[in-house]
Subunit: 186 residues, 2 copies
């Protein structure tokens, strides 16, 4: 009974457009339990970028997040476009669009599940190697008011362990990315 | 134009039942952009528990996650019930139900946004103080096949920096929880 996948006996689309793709599956577990409906959100894969400057600051963005109803300090990132050849190209594009920073190359930190119970997609974390300010931002309508912040690493580490409410994917990317480049160790 | 919230001029429920609560808002940004629809998922708050045993192992669960289509190694946790007095009580309940471990008390590590763009809820991370095996599991139908694993901290740290694909909220909780109890430092 352990180790097997669920069997999908029916599946219907609840809502699907440019922004969301929600389906309701009828599932049967290896133990014979029927789960109906079981909702699955299909998104493109996401990318988040840790850009650590030569003076030990992280290139971050502060923007309004409507579901939370608050402004949140985040890493640059977003959804892969069909035109992105691979996640590293998406990382470069998102970093440039949101912050006007570029980098000679991008190192893959790791990939994770945003939420494997409900989301079918993965999130890929990249580290910008030697980031530098260049060009201008190209913001979407939903990024109206997004501001770029260069935040010292020590301040970020204090904040995420203290009273900042951050997004879990970004915290994970920051800690693993800083470990990857030897800035912290664990 | 920066710093303001979006104005919601209309809102409709797309689907709402025991499992999901999805609404579509019509939003106007401070800069005057109209975003329609903007989807918001309302869930109860979630809790995840880091239970570190006296012999340096983390009490984890391995279970099938249908959206991802894979078995994933995770921390115990779940959604708050209306009957839970507070998130720490939810943490104790979820730990006991999924793993049959209990603890004398639970320390709050921190709270984060699962995804403040799309999810209105928060996730609360707790640390079980002196966890011990007691009682029996009480699994839901969707947890059919869930197995408890006691995984050495070193193996978890290697895995999450290596080739394990984990869930971002759990990675964040593990690293911040281990830092909180002095097991790692950064």
């Amino acid at each position: 009974m352990t180790g097997g996948k669920w069997r999908v006996t029916a599946s219907r689309t609840v809502v699907k457009d440019r922004w969301i793709d929600l389906r309701a599956d009828t599932c049967v577990t290896p133990g014979g339990h029927v789960l109906d409906p079981f909702y699955v959100l299909a998104y493109p894969d996401w990318v988040h970028v840790l850009a650590l400057t030569g003076d030990d600051r992280i290139v971050m963005v502060r923007q309004y997040r409507h579901a939370a109803g608050e402004h949140v300090l985040e890493l640059p990132g977003g959804a892969m476009d069909p035109a992105d050849a691979d996640p590293s190209q998406a990382a470069a594009r998102e970093l440039a669009e949101e912050t006007a920073y570029t980098a000679a190359s991008f190192g893959h930190i790791c990939s994770q599940w945003p939420n494997p119970a409900t989301h079918a997609n993965k999130v890929h974390f990249y580290r910008a190697i030697d980031p530098a300010a260049a060009g201008t931002q190209k913001l979407d309508a939903g990024e109206d008011g997004l501001t770029v912040r260069l935040v010292p690493v020590e301040e970020v580490l204090r904040g995420l362990r203290g009273d900042w409410t951050m997004q879990s994917m970004h915290v994970s990317a920051i800690l693993l990315g800083l470990a990857d480049c030897g800035r912290i160790s664990f």
